[in-house]
Amino acid sequence: MNCNEIETRLNDYLDGTLPDAEKKLVEIHLEGCLNCREELLRLRNLMAETAALPKEIRPERDLWPEIAGRMASQKQAAFPSFFGLRPSRLIGGFAVAAIVLLIALGIFWKVRQSSKPFWEVGRLAGNPKVGSEGLIDTGKLRVGEWLETDDSSRAVISVGTIGHVQVEPNSRIRLVSSRLTDHRLSLAEGSIQAQISAPPRLFFVETPSALAVDLGCSYNLAVDESGAGQLQVTFGWVALVREGREVTVPAGAVCLIRPAVGPGTPFFQDASPKLRQALQKLDFEKGGADAFAAILAEARPADLLTLWHLLPQTDEAARGRLYNRMAKLAAPPEGITKEGILRLEPAMLQLWKEEIEQRIEERMVFPT
């Protein structure tokens, strides 16, 4: 953010109406900019002086004599009595009552609409839209409503009290659910950056290819017009789910998603290009023996999670080769046998996965 962008935001900052994401950006800018800090001080002083203005100002002369004079010619309003009305007035009264009833029904409908849960949304750039309305500065995204950005618009959504989602240009996203245990968006197209600070499995993003399940993380999720896309995790873990299959993607890793297929096999961004190409062929292009061989040849100890995800996706012969390669890259934990893995015993698969995830966690905390 530059100083010009900061200037208008300082007002919202002091009024307490700035979205958290922008508030942080403003504070970062203020730390390094003396001019803007002085500007903030001037604004703060003005607001303090304004708050100290007297609430009362007495007119220089008593206005009562003039008011009393005008009151003499005024009648006070009175509540009508039905019983004192002539029939013609009574008919008019019923017409009025009917109109009032219609208005009340309209208000009821409006109130019902407005009582739907909502998340606050703020404009970051351009002209984002909530429903058919342009988002001028801040607004509400109610359950069922779409937020749309064009090629020069960006917006930020506050995910209840657990985080926020930045919506990038050319995106369409809908608020599906805002319950304590189910904060859910649907990304039809475009890209988002999500930052969530909450226990796992409270925040979900639906896409045409898979459901992204927050496991305590920050991530970028992009979907193109065909529904294909990719998830890139920058902190923590995210699960991708489709039709009972779940893959877990740690920080530093990417997972491609495709409609009708779901998530591919997650891989670390620093994996070799050959491994990544081979995975894409295997996951989405019916890649055969060559792709599988390339994966085995290119895998490093850091790619064990990638190999683990392939275990249930392969036949028994290929699974045996996978086991051998994995065991060579790092000895399996105690309690795991080749036979058990070949049979896809859930307890063994889970144990091995937890062990691999533990090593990844250690690398996140103590990177080498």
Partner: protein, 191 residues
Amino acid sequence: MSAEPACTEIILEPEQQAPGYEWELVRRAQKGDRAAFEEIYRQNVGRVYAICLRIAAEAGKAKELTQDVFVLAWEKLPTFRGESAFFSWLHRLTVNVVLMEQRSRKRRAEKEMVTIEPEFFERPDPAVLPGTGLDLEKAISQLPHQARTIFVLHDIEGYQHNEIAGMLKLSVGTCKAQLFRARKLLKEVLK
């Protein structure tokens, strides 16, 4: 996101902090007791006049508006049901009277001065240019009228942007932009 004070959170003056006494005055005035209404006037004229003066920015006009407010309050008093504090009701009535007058003044001006560019009405008086050392109250009085109205309603009277936008038939964004403009002009003047 929103941490703005609600307009109903009005701090009552000590003499208004006796709801029983105030309600008794209101009840008597509703029955036509002019002495009780005079007491209501004396208790509230300072607050009402302050709003009228700050928005109208003209002492003569503010006095007229204050009279209008109390005459209208007398007329409408029987419709006050005590669902809110009396001053909240009177406060809203005051703002409505001032805004109605502004709208009719603007319509008259548009009829009489159709050839003048609209910005003419928004241009601040040359006297508010920076460095003139005017105090805050005077600087507010010389803001462009829409920016002034919004500044007074938001920063002094505690209304929220959505309420002001509704009253002035503006978008919330325009309302905010005008408030920021007012603050910017005031900062310049008070430098």
